[in-house]
């Protein structure tokens, strides 16, 4: 069987960017007119006419913009480091002249790691942004914006201490670092949900549910995708300093992990580190209605460290979302640093890349489906005693055999330390297989199903009835809860 590549099904085009521009992309969107709008590392916003291949400067002078939403043909909203800004071309000459602060009701210490991500816009026009924590790789500056608060320390005490060890890897010292904020179009801000470390991906699915990615590190055993709801806590405790309960200065570094574990909402999907993604970015739903291939309405998530875009297959189990991830686009001309995405009206996916001095890339690429259906796992659903896999095309004869499917399970510990190894790794025996004759769907029954594990499925030698081989053969399902609602997973907490 010949090796299959995603390049057999999708066409990848490199989009030339203006000469002299540092083409690290912070955000991408389309204006109603069909012009692409992109913001870049050194503060520029350009529009692009895909028909003519021409870029045009729209705005400049922004501070590390990391997200953009087009409101209309003359107006965009950009999340930049210090604020959410509405940028308008009031006189219609193609270049913005008005920059209005929508919201700067959050703090800044000047620590380099305090990136600001988003915005993602809901159906009512509210904008959601994610605020990074500060990094122990650096201190805070003499002048801050916003109130100082750091685990009960005084401002002077903070200076004197070694900010590295005493503060933990990622820390907060001004308001709402580590939070997702909700901002109305008029600029009213609500602290929406705490618990984030580096939420470089804020997006809605087609049903209006908010998803946020976060990056492996302290308190994150591996990188994650969260379904985010107001008031829930997503696991990194530094941000709790800005809740009433923690106002008086408890130090999260001196609290047992179990207390936070009891409060936290687990990730919807874990991205196994080194295997699936090391630095996930924007989640974006396939809004192409089928023009982009067989994944309509599913979420794609970018990955910085390798030439990959990941696909997420959600599964609602006992009323909550969990699910699986699988590589979607791997290599085949794609750059690294896949950061921001937008779908064009023609159903093509535009990709903006960056690195910000970490592993990554730069530039703009465009991915179009060529109309041929790749053989892929289309969905993965939990059953009472196994999984139901649906493929994009009927399975070739003989595929319904144990040899083709290998399940392994492991977990990542919830702990203060940086990342977690895979723990409890073991092979899971397949108790039975049932392929619906001539069908795309396969039931795989497993010996052991336990909440709090990643179930990794490696598929070998799978092909469709038309002979096309399976393109992506690695699927990782995050089993938070069983179909009966049982989600007890005491093994996740470091003792």
């Amino acid at each position: 069987m010949r090796a299959a590549g995603i390049g057999d099904y999708y066409l990848l085009e490199n989009i030339a960017t203006p000469k002299g521009l540092d083409p690290q992309v912070g955000g991408l969107d389309f204006m109603p007119s069909g012009r692409l709008v992109a913001c870049f590392h050194r503060g520029e916003v350009y529009t692009y006419d895909p028909g003519k291949g021409e870029w045009r400067l729209f705005a400049d002078g922004l501070q590390e913009p990391l997200g953009i939403v087009a409101i209309n043909d003359r107006e965009v909203v950009v999340m930049q480091r210090p604020e959410l800004t509405r940028i308008t071309d009031t006189d219609g000459d193609g270049e913005a002249d008005q920059y209005k602060t929508v919201c700067d009701d959050f703090g800044m210490t000047g620590n380099y790691h305090e990136f600001a991500f988003g915005p993602a816009r809901d159906a009512r026009g509210n904008l959601y942004v994610g605020l990074n924590l500060a990094s122990s790789g650096a201190s805070i500056r003499p002048e801050l914006r916003g109130e100082f608060r750091h685990y009960g320390q005084s401002r002077e005490g903070f200076k004197a201490s070694s900010y590295g060890r005493a503060s933990g890897r990622m820390y907060t010292a001004t308001p709402y670092r580590g939070w997702v904020l909700k901002i109305t179009p008029e600029g009213e801000m609500t602290p929406f949900a705490p618990g984030f470390r580096s939420p470089n991906g804020v997006g809605f699915d087609l049903d209006g549910q908010l998803f946020v990615t976060d990056n492996q590190g302290d308190w994150l055993g591996t990188s994650k995708l969260f379904h985010v709801q107001r008031g829930k806590f997503y696991g990194h405790p530094a941000s709790l300093a800005w809740t009433n309960e923690w106002k008086k200065g408890r130090n999260p570094l001196k609290v047992a992990s179990a207390e936070f574990d009891a409060k936290r909402t687990r990730a919807t999907v874990l991205f196994p580190h080194g295997l699936m993604a090391n630095s996930p970015t924007q989640p974006i739903p396939d809004s192409s209605g089928g023009k982009f291939g067989p994944f309509a309405a599913q979420l794609f998530v970018g990955e910085m460290n390798r030439a990959r875009i990941v696909r997420v297959m959600l599964d609602k189990v006992a009323g909550e979302w969990q699910g699986a991830c699988v590589p979607f686009y791997d290599g085949a001309g794609l750059g690294k640093g896949n950061h921001r995405f937008v779908f064009g009206k023609d159903g093509s996916m535009w990709v903006g890349q960056t690195h910000l001095s970490w592993v990554g890339g730069q530039g703009v690429q465009r991915i179009k489906w060529n109309g041929k259906t790749p053989m892929e796992v289309e969905s993965m659903k939990l059953l009472r005693n196994g999984f139901k896999l649906t493929f994009t095309k009927p399975l070739a004869k003989g595929a319904g055999h144990h040899d083709h499917f290998q399940f392994t399970r492991y977990y990542y510990e919830y702990r203060q330390g940086y990342g977690s190894p895979q723990l409890g790794t073991e092979a899971v025996q397949i108790a039975g297989l049932k392929l619906r004759r001539g069908d795309r769907t396969l039931m795989i029954y497993l010996d052991k199903l336990t909440p709090g594990y990643v179930y990794q499925l490696d598929l070998n030698n799978i092909a469709a009835t038309d002979g096309s081989p399976l393109v992506n053969a690695l699927v990782c399902y995050t089993l938070n809860r069983l179909t009966n609602g049982d989600d007890k997973a005491p093994h996740l907490v470091q003792k």
């Binding site: 400049d60 210090p82 604020e83 008005q98 700067d104 800044m108 620590n111 380099y112 002048e143």
Partner: protein
């Protein structure tokens, strides 16, 4: 004229390159020193620089220099006696309001030859005879603010050092850089603004480069002007490369810094100012912020008669007294269109404060 047009001198058996991008031509074109005339075109470029930063001549040789203004600002070209470049540039600054009429050329005995101030796109030819006295004769643009960056030297009967060690040309030219490093697709442009980490300001700082090499830092975290400098703009590299933990470097000389905390006060109370954004006016930001429920606008523009800035405030329909901390005023030229200045605080009546201006300028040594 019968004189061969030479861009290059054959000196001491070496090809001497004129400026950074001059052409090296064959020795056959070299002429006996007394027969030839040095002809050189010097173009003023964006970023306060001449494209030719040095050329050679023999004592007593005929010289033809054509200044071409290829920039979007006004420039001139003034030759001075050796070692007198800064003195002449400083004397030009001291001309103040008389400067325009004098083409910014001071009555200074070190001035040898000069062009008028040329508007963008124009050119002017200077014809003169090189001094008999060997030496390094500077040339400089004496338009206010330009002379600190925009200069070069005529080597008369003196051999040139390596460009990289030549203290008579601007630093960027010494480094082999034609101008400040290009960070954008548009090349040089002023006004230019960056929201970027700046020294001596909050993390929500804004750096603005105005025309004529004038610059300031305005703090969006505190809604106030922090300092002003002349020269180049900023070096953003420490922020834009690596992990971004650096501060942008100020490229030039600070001449004013607000040493008093706090922004403008409208009426009583000490409410936190609220930054609301800015509108671009001829590319320059007019900041908008709110103090004590009152909208305040500040537009900063460059002065032309001296190195300095004009701060234009608008507080439409204001009904309350206003006070503006202006910090130290003894080390600068300070003027205000209205109000009373006392101990670094400018106080204005409600009516005066609806529209007023404040000027901050560099005091030149000879003033």
């Amino acid at each position: 004229m019968g004189v061969p047009f030479l861009k290059i001198q054959f000196v001491n058996g070496l090809f001497v390159q004129l400026g950074l991008f001059g052409l090296v031509i064959a020795p056959a074109l070299a002429r006996e020193p007394n027969d030839e005339r040095v002809e050189t075109d010097i173009t003023a470029r964006a970023g306060l620089r001449y494209d030719v930063v040095r050329f050679a001549a023999k004592p007593g040789q005929a010289i033809r220099v054509k200044l071409i203004n290829g920039d979007d600002m006004a420039h001139n070209l003034v030759f001075t006696k050796p070692g007198q470049r800064q003195a002449v540039a400083t004397a030009a600054l001291a001309l103040g309001v008389d400067g325009e009429a004098k083409n910014w050329v001071p009555d200074h005995d070190a001035v040898l030859w000069s062009t008028p101030v040329l508007p963008p796109g124009e050119q002017h030819v200077l014809l003169f005879t090189a001094p008999v006295e060997p030496g390094i004769y500077p040339y400089v643009c004496t338009y206010p603010g330009h002379g600190f960056l925009m200069y070069g030297a005529m080597y008369v009967g003196v051999s040139m050092p390596e460009l990289a060690t030549d203290q008579h040309v601007p630093e960027l030219a010494r480094q082999g850089k034609a101008a400040q490093k290009q960070f954008h697709a548009w090349g040089d442009k002023r006004p230019l603004m960056y929201r970027i980490f700046m020294p001596d300001a909050s993390p929500a700082a804004i750096a603005v480069g105005l025309k004529h090499g004038q610059n300031y830092c305005w703090d969006a975290g505190q809604c106030r002007l922090r300092y002003a400098w002349y020269g180049g703009f900023v070096d953003p590299s420490p922020v834009w490369r690596g992990n971004g933990n650096g501060l942008a470097g100020v490229l030039g000389t600070k001449y004013w810094e607000s040493e008093m905390p706090g922004t403008i006060r409208v009426g009583g109370g000490d409410s936190e100012p609220e930054f609301l954004g800015y509108k671009k006016v001829d590319g320059q930001p007019e900041f908008h912020f709110r103090v004590n429920d009152t909208d305040v606008y500040e537009l900063i523009t460059p002065l032309h008669s001296i190195i300095g800035i004009q701060r234009s405030f608008r507080i439409p329909n204001n009904t309350q007294p206003v006070s503006l901390p202006v910090g130290p005023t003894s080390r600068v030229v300070f003027e205000h269109s209205a109000g009373k200045l006392e101990n670094g605080l400018l106080t204005l009546s409600a009516e005066e404060a609806r529209a007023f201006t404040v000027f901050i300028g560099l005091i030149s040594k000879s003033r």
